[in-house]
Symmetry: C2
Subunit: 161 residues, 2 copies
DNA sequence: ACTGTGTAGATGCGCGTACAACGTTCTAAG
DNA sequence: CTTAGAACGTTGTACGCGCATCTACACAGT
């Protein structure tokens, strides 16, 4: 393997690989535990919870489908189906966009807000148990710093309408 | 919506929540980029790569289905189907366990090892680009320390036979 | 108004996964 | 030896996701 100036051409040590593997395992493990709790206690998938949460934090409890898809890390088609289900369950409604006939808002209903409020304690408890409680303040700060480098700032959402 | 819809012992600050969310986003992002590369360049899913890798690192290039399922973070049925596919493609073979007629080994074939060797550079390059290169040595050490707390003792695999 | 390019969502389809149930085999108690 | 229960792996089934595709609409240039 050729070595040029710059670190990116160096071989990867087994320690580095191990860090990566542990990261994967930890993330999957935490996410599954969290989702299982939500599913058992509130019959709510993690993706659904995220959608409800994003909507609840948005002005007017509404978001364009496109913007929402970006925030929830879901494909457009995936979001369409998920909103279908949430709408069927009465947690969300679709509303046309007056200034752009292509656009559609997903709007959180009162029922959806209530359901979110119900589930929030479970969610927060899970995060604390699986993640936050395990780390101290310094570690959390270090973690935040690393994440900022890993995930610069893609979410400059532009809302139209 | 406020954070404490229900009562937790200690409130979770929005910074903490934000760290968790970024962790989720970063992990999904990295994993998808990695999988996309593997798929495009070698027509190999990430889960398949992991199976091949685990087998290649195991004595005799073989592992019991159950042990393998644990290491790859897959359900038993999921692993059955995945091994079906890998076997169909000639990358893996099934072999009976002589001392336990219930048991089955998944065995890496020469073709599977070759395919793994082919794909490894892509995998390693992806990890470097998405993860390792972004962090410096200190950060990597901090990350390892945190992960050890989050995921105390992952792989205490006991091989039978 | 007309046409071409781009964007917003929805839909057909195939794939991969998990859950539950099943058959087979191992193990221990009687 | 017999039998109950656990463990291993596979199969039926349903579900969620993404890709490619489609329709409807927007906006610019002519």
């Amino acid at each position: 393997m050729t070595i040029t100036a710059g670190e990116s051409r160096e071989a990867i040590s087994s320690e580095e690989l191990e860090v990566w593997r542990m990261l994967q395992r930890a993330q999957v493990r935490i996410t599954r535990a969290l989702e299982a709790d939500l599913l058992v206690e509130h019959d709510l998938a993690l993706a659904s919870y995220d959608v409800l949460l994003q909507l609840s934090e948005s002005p007017g409890r509404r978001l364009r489908m496109n913007d929402l898809a970006d925030r929830v890390l879901l494909s457009r088609s995936g979001l369409t189906r998920l909103i279908d289900r949430l709408q069927r369950d009465g947690l969300v409604e679709r509303e046309a966009c007056t200034s752009d006939a292509r656009g559609l808002f997903a709007v959180l209903t009162d029922g959806g807000a209530a359901r979110l409020a119900e589930a929030a304690p479970t969610y927060l408890r899970g995060i604390r148990a699986q993640f936050l409680d395990v780390l101290d303040g310094d570690e959390l700060r270090q973690c935040a710093a690393m994440l900022n480098k890993l995930f610069p700032d893609p979410c400059t959402g532009q809302d139209s309408c």
